[in-house]
Symmetry: C2
Amino acid sequence: MIKTQKYIQENKDLFLDDLKALLRIPSVSADPTFKKDVKDAAKAVAKLLKGAGLKKVKINKTKGHPIVYGERIVDKNLPTVLIYGHYDVQPADPIDLWDTPPFEPTIKKTKNHPQGAVFARGAADDKGQVLMHVQAVKAMIATKELPCNVKFMIEGEEEVGSIHLGIFCKANRKQLACDVVLISDTSIIGNKTPSITVGLRGLSYVEVEVVGPNRDLHSGVYGGAVANPINILAKMIAQLHDKNNKITIPGFYDDVKNYAKAERAALNKAPFSETKYKKDLQIKEVFGEKGYTTIERTGIRPTLDVNGIWGGYIGEGAKTVLPSAAFAKISMRLVSNQDPAKITKDFTKYFKSLAPKSVKVKVTPHHGGHPAVTPIDSKEYRAAEAAMKKTFKKDVIPQMGGGSIPIVALFEQVLKVNVVLMGFGLDSDVIHSPNEHYGLFNYYRGIETIPYFFEQYCS
Amino acid sequence: MIKTQKYIQENKDLFLDDLKALLRIPSVSADPTFKKDVKDAAKAVAKLLKGAGLKKVKINKTKGHPIVYGERIVDKNLPTVLIYGHYDVQPADPIDLWDTPPFEPTIKKTKNHPQGAVFARGAADDKGQVLMHVQAVKAMIATKELPCNVKFMIEGEEEVGSIHLGIFCKANRKQLACDVVLISDTSIIGNKTPSITVGLRGLSYVEVEVVGPNRDLHSGVYGGAVANPINILAKMIAQLHDKNNKITIPGFYDDVKNYAKAERAALNKAPFSETKYKKDLQIKEVFGEKGYTTIERTGIRPTLDVNGIWGGYIGEGAKTVLPSAAFAKISMRLVSNQDPAKITKDFTKYFKSLAPKSVKVKVTPHHGGHPAVTPIDSKEYRAAEAAMKKTFKKDVIPQMGGGSIPIVALFEQVLKVNVVLMGFGLDSDVIHSPNEHYGLFNYYRGIETIPYFFEQYCS
C-alpha cells in the first residue's frame, strides 16, 4: 500500500474540500422541510463514488430517502467488503447554541484536536467517516492497489431508524452479497488510544401523549380539581425508574445478560477517568444504575432516557394555564437479547397502567433496533485490529459502545456476515449536539488505516 | 335609573362596536413583541373614558405598561366608587387551536350563549367587563343620573402580576381616595344563577431550571451514566404531591384555614353537577386533594400546577439526545393567610432539596398575590347583591373563586377600603384558553346592573 499511502498524502487538501462540500448540504432526515437537501446529499455521494472509480453507481429510490450504491469488482473469486454508512444527519437544534452555523463547515482547534477539527452537523456522524472510505478506495483504485472487491451502500435514514434499508437489503441480497460489512460510525477512546467497538446497544423509541381536559383551562378556576397532564406525565416518568435507578417496566431485564465477574473486570480495564469525565461535562456526580460503573452503565446495561418533553405555556413570562395535554419522547437503549419490539410493547402496557383514570394516554413507537455484538476472534476483527495498530502504533482495545446502529443486527440476519465497527470519532466530538465536529487527524488517520484493513482482510 | 336604562337599550349596538374595536388591539402584556399594542390599548381606553364624560383622563406612565385614570366628581360630600379593571390580555397561544383569529372579534352562538357571544382574546378577561363599567357610567352621566362620584383605574399589567400598580397606588393615595373598589373580572355561576365572588385564591408563580451536563449529549453514549435533567425534573415534580394529592412542601398548609363542617356544608350548597362538569371537559374522573369536593378544591384549598414544561428535542421525529437542561413553569394557588413571598421561599428551598448532586437547580419567582376574602355583611356586598337581584330577578349566591386577582389584597391594604367582585363572565367562557368569548347577554346584563349598584350604594 505504499503507492496508496503516497496518493493519500498528496491529496489531503482535496479530500478536505470534498468533506466540506458534503457538510454544506443540510440533509436532516427527520424533518420533512429538508427533503430536497437529503436528495441533494444522495446525489453528491453518488458523484463522489463515481469520482473514486466505482461502477454501477445508482441512487436507489425508497419510500423514504434514497440509498446510494456503487461497487468495484476486481475479481469474482476474491473477497468482497461492503462499506455501509449514512449521509443523513441529526437535526441541528438548538441552533442558537452553535458557535458557527451548523451547515457552514468551519475549521477550529480544540483541546482534543490540536491539529484542528471541522465543525458542522454530520462532520463525525457520519459524513466525515463515510468519506474516509470513499477517499481510501479512491486512492487504492487510482494506484491500482485495491486488493479485493468493494461495494458501497450509503443510506439516508440512519438517524430516523433506517426505516427502508431492511426492505432494500432483503430485495437486493444478490447485489449486496459480501464477506464482511465495514462501518465507520463509532468512536475510538482517544487519538492515542485506538479501539474498536465490539458491542452496540439496541433502541426502542416512543412518543407519549397524556391528555386531560378537552381544552386548556384557567389554572385558577380548575386547578386542583382536574388532573393536570404535565403533573401526571411527570409522575408517570418518575415511576419508570426505582430508587436504585433500575428501570421498573415488568420483564425489562429478562433478556439482559448478566456478565461474570471476570468479564466485568476485563471491561473495566479500558482507560477511563471519572474525574476527567465529570470535568468535561461539568457535573458534580455521575448518575445511573446502582452497582455498575460508568463503563458498564453505557456498555452492557440498558437505559431509559426522556429525550424531549413539552406541554402548556413555554413562552416568555407567566401564563396560568392548566394544559389539555403533555408530551414526551422517550428512548430505551437495549443490550444482549432484548428485543426492541417486545420492549416497546412492554413499555406501552406498563406506561398506560401508570395513568390515573382522569387522563388518556397514547404511545406511538418511533423506531427500534436490535443490540449487536461483534466476535473479537474473527478474521475481520483481526484485520481491523492489525490495520489500526499499523497506523496508530499502539495496541487496539475492544470496546462496548453505548450508541445504537440498528442496522448492524439486520446485516447479520439478512446478509449473513459479520460487521466490523471501525470508527474514528471521539466521544468529545459532540455528535447529535450543537458544535459537532470531526478531527482532521481522525479524518486522515481513517483514510490511511482503511487500505491496511483491505490489505489484511484480503491477503 | 329609568332614563339610564332607556339610554342603555338605545345604545346597545354602539356599545358592542366599542368592545369589538378594543378587542382588535392585541394587548398581550407578557410578550415584549406587543409593547406598542399594549400602549395603543391604553390610548383607546382613555378615549373611551373621555367619550363617556369622565374628567382628568390621563395615561400614567409606569416602568412597565401604563395605567389609565379618569374621574367624575359629582359632589365631594358624596361617596366615591373606584372602578378597577385591566386592558391587557393573556397570550393567545396556542394560536392554531382558535377557530377564528384571536384578535378579530367574531360573534357566534354557543350552548351557554344562545344569544351569541363575542369570540376574541380578552373578551371576558377583562376588556368586555371593563367596558361594561365605561358604558354604564356613560349612560348615567348622559342622563344626569350618576348618583355619586366615580373614578376609573384601568391597568395594563394584570396578566403579568400587576407589577407596577402597587407603586402607583401608594404614590397616588389622595387621587385614588374612595369608599369602595368595584371590579368585574370574575364569573357568575350561570346566566340564570347570579353569584358574587367573595373569596379569591392568591398566587405564587415560579420558573424552574434543572441543569445537568454542560451540553446536549448523545443518549447512546452517555445515557444511563449521566443524570438526564428531564428525568430528574419529572421526579422532582412528582414529589411535589403525595399519594393523596396533598402538596408536600414543608409548612405549606400552616396558614390554611380549616373550615368548620357547617361552613363546608354551606359552601357545597352552590349548584354544581359533577356529571355536567366532567362532560363539559370530557374527562372520566375529577382529580384532586383527597377528602375535598370539587367546589372546595377550587375554592378553599391551595393547589400546585405545572403550567408549562420543556426540554430536549421537541421537533418532528426522533432525536436521541440527553439534554443539558429542562425547564418548567409552576404556580401555586394560595388561600386564607398563605403569604406568597413565604410560599415562594419555602417552595424554592424544598424543590432544591429534591435534586440529586448531579444537577444544578435554579428557581426564578415570576409574581405573586395574596389571597382575599370580601365580607358579605358589608354595605358594598349588599349593594351588589341588590343590583344583581334586580336585573336577574333571582337570589344571588356568594361564591369562593379559584382564580387570583393579586391586586385585591393590595387595595385593601393601601386604599383601606373593601373590594366588591361583581363579575359577569361564565367559567365556560374559556378565559386564558383558545376561543375565549364573552356572552352578549352578559355584556349587556353587566351594563344594566352596574347603575343599580351605584343607586343602592350611594343612597
